[in-house]
Symmetry: C2
Subunit: 355 residues, 2 copies
DNA sequence: TTTTCTTGAGAAAACCTTTTCTCATATTGA
DNA sequence: TCAATATGAGAAAAGGTTTTCTCAAGAAAA
């Protein structure tokens, strides 16, 4: 007689809405009562465990859907030792680097039912500790550390934590799992492209020598362009790009016909300076940027051809890695460098040569 | 005999590290065993509840600190119906607007032991629902919705959720708690400043009419500058700023001596165009931007005087508001507009007139 | 008809913490 | 010395879910 009915009778409905309006969520007990079975049966029905009559299972499932039952993750986590949350620690709140990384992480993990705690710690070790403790209290399954510089670590010690840690775009301790963009690869891509479209006299204008990224890109540039190719170190700004062009054009000697810049801001300064001097981009000089910072690269006249570090992909990978570690799967430790890609716009010409 | 000892004996230490190495965290039961009291006593000691001998309390407290006991937030939340988490929903993953908002939220809430779930939903209603469900499963105490446009709502319905919702810098449903920057106030600040430093012929160059922000700022501009003052609507780009100046200078009539721009990118285009035409900034023309987007405003030559929307503060307020609602305190519903502030740099001159 | 096996479903424990209630002991007053 | 009170600490329940174990009933075999 009980079997087969699907809609709730009015008494049950009344009870349910009474509970709901008191701020209570629907629990597995409510569902069990309504279905006329025990909570264990409900649990097994919904999770596909245990032996049971197929129609019982189906009946419970559709009833659960009908009243919108969703298991309390806190209770579940308490039992399973898995909270289905991970923490994301960053000291780059305003930065354009970590944003795509974060987006990638969030995107990769939501498919696995994992939510991400965002912890903006600036450069404050105290704040870092507070956040880490708060996350550990909440039983995060793992932590991802990310920052604004590949060669600096966060102001907080994550070694020896009771949960796995993955470092993305920031320096991790020895033996840790770390992910960054392959700066050398990006620089090679850019330099080879300049050569491929016929540029001979290449120059690299980039940021300070103190940045590992700047150094690595410069080394890779010289490996491709030749060890005598000039590299100008400065700061990461538009103004420096401008000034560097002034310097190149004021000193004697042959002018470059291809300029690889350490970031899009420098490239923008370079393009502006070239225009002011009457050098046409890309007809006379090809310019390549780095970062593919849309709002900068796309608004420059002409729009910048630039190197994209695939940061979203990097985030996605990092997310999947903590997840793997959290589930007890092993992940090979060490530094993994993800390849970059070249985004062709108009500041180089040669777009038709792409293949 | 038991009383007064502080350091663990070796047997207890061994047991503890055995548990820890098996991936188990220290529980209140461990602590109780070590302290030689019951779990209830420990709980009461640490939470300052119940009656108990002062030295018992102290002994337990220092023991807890020594072994690093921290209560499991999942268990706590299960009991108290408070998870000390809130969800942050955003469709502006890359945007410069929501970043400071997020930072403000995180900063305000960490002090209250509350962690923030970051949910990047782009403009995907499906993804939005997945995230919201995941958060509700995790028993978030509240949700903050934020986006890239004040006059658009997120692609997900947050009405009727069993937790409080606060909207920050995005449109909420009727009767909701919503926080935005006061565009009119910002525009007034800028326009009045131009007048104050002696500019008479003011122009406003801004974004599309479809943006409520653009319209409100334009209205406020005209209230201050006079209803005949020209307003040029275009897009939010540097190129448009450039083009707008071309238009103004090519058509006959008096040239403006003060230009209020709808955002920093437009301002940058305006400044560049003026320089190209030989008009000096700020000597001949004063230019004001909007947004105080550091990387744009500070790198423009000369650095931009601009309106700051106090987005971090807005985030902080939003955070405190969900918290209040989560704790059952009432918050007056409706749209609250937070004041802006003027950031004086060099594109206006008159910096010394500040008071 | 009796025995064995299969199937379906429930009872109870476990996860960790907090809180209320209860109880034993020590202290005070008569 | 006895009763009444104050004090300190433990037992147990609760919160929501999952999992293991147990058990009853029906079906098949003898």
């Amino acid at each position: 007689m009980r079997k087969g009915f699907l809609t709730l009778n009015s008494r049950e409905e009344a009870k349910l809405s009474a509970r709901r309006s008191k701020g209570h969520r629907v629990t597995i007990h409510d569902l069990a009562r309504i279905a006329g079975v025990s909570v264990s049966t409900v649990s097994k029905a919904l999770n596909g465990n245990g032996r049971m009559a197929a129609d019982t299972r189906e009946r419970i499932k559709s009833l659960a859907a009908e009243i919108g039952f969703r298991p309390n993750a806190l209770a579940r986590g308490l039992l399973s030792n898995r909270s289905f949350t991970v923490g994301l620690l960053t000291n780059d709140t305003y930065g354009r680097f970590t944003l795509p990384v974060m987006a990638g992480i969030s995107e990769a993990l939501v498919d696995h039912g994992v939510s991400v705690f965002l912890c903006a710690i600036e450069d404050d070790p105290e704040l870092g500790k507070v956040h880490v403790d708060a996350m550990l209290d909440k039983q995060v399954d793992g932590i991802i550390a990310t920052g604004k510089r590949v060669d600096r670590s966060l102001p907080v010690d994550l070694a020896g934590l009771p949960v796995p840690v993955v470092y993305a775009f920031t320096e991790g301790e020895a033996g840790s799992v770390t992910l960054t963009a392959d700066d050398r690869h990006g620089a090679r891509l850019a330099t080879e492209w300049l050569q491929r479209i016929g540029r001979k006299r290449l120059v690299h204008i980039t940021g300070p020598r103190e940045f590992a990224s700047a150094v690595e890109r410069a080394e890779a540039f010289r490996e491709v362009a030749g060890s005598a190719a000039p590299v100008l170190h400065g700061v990461w700004s538009e103004a420096w790009g401008h000034a560097a062009v002034d310097r190149l054009w004021n000193e004697g000697g042959g002018k470059p016909d291809g300029i690889f810049c350490g970031n899009d801001q420098i490239a923008r300064g370079v393009v502006d300076a070239l225009r002011e001097r009457g050098a046409k981009v890309p007809e006379d000089v090809s310019v390549i940027g780095f970062d593919n910072w849309e709002i900068m690269a796309a608004q420059t006249r002409p729009p910048l051809t630039t190197v994209d570090m695939n940061l979203k992909e990097l985030g996605r990978e990092a997310g999947l890695m903590v997840l793997a570690l959290a589930e007890g799967r092993t992940v090979e430790p060490g530094l993994r460098k993800l390849p970059c890609k070249l985004v062709i716009r108009e500041s180089c010409g040669g777009g038709d040569r792409r293949d």
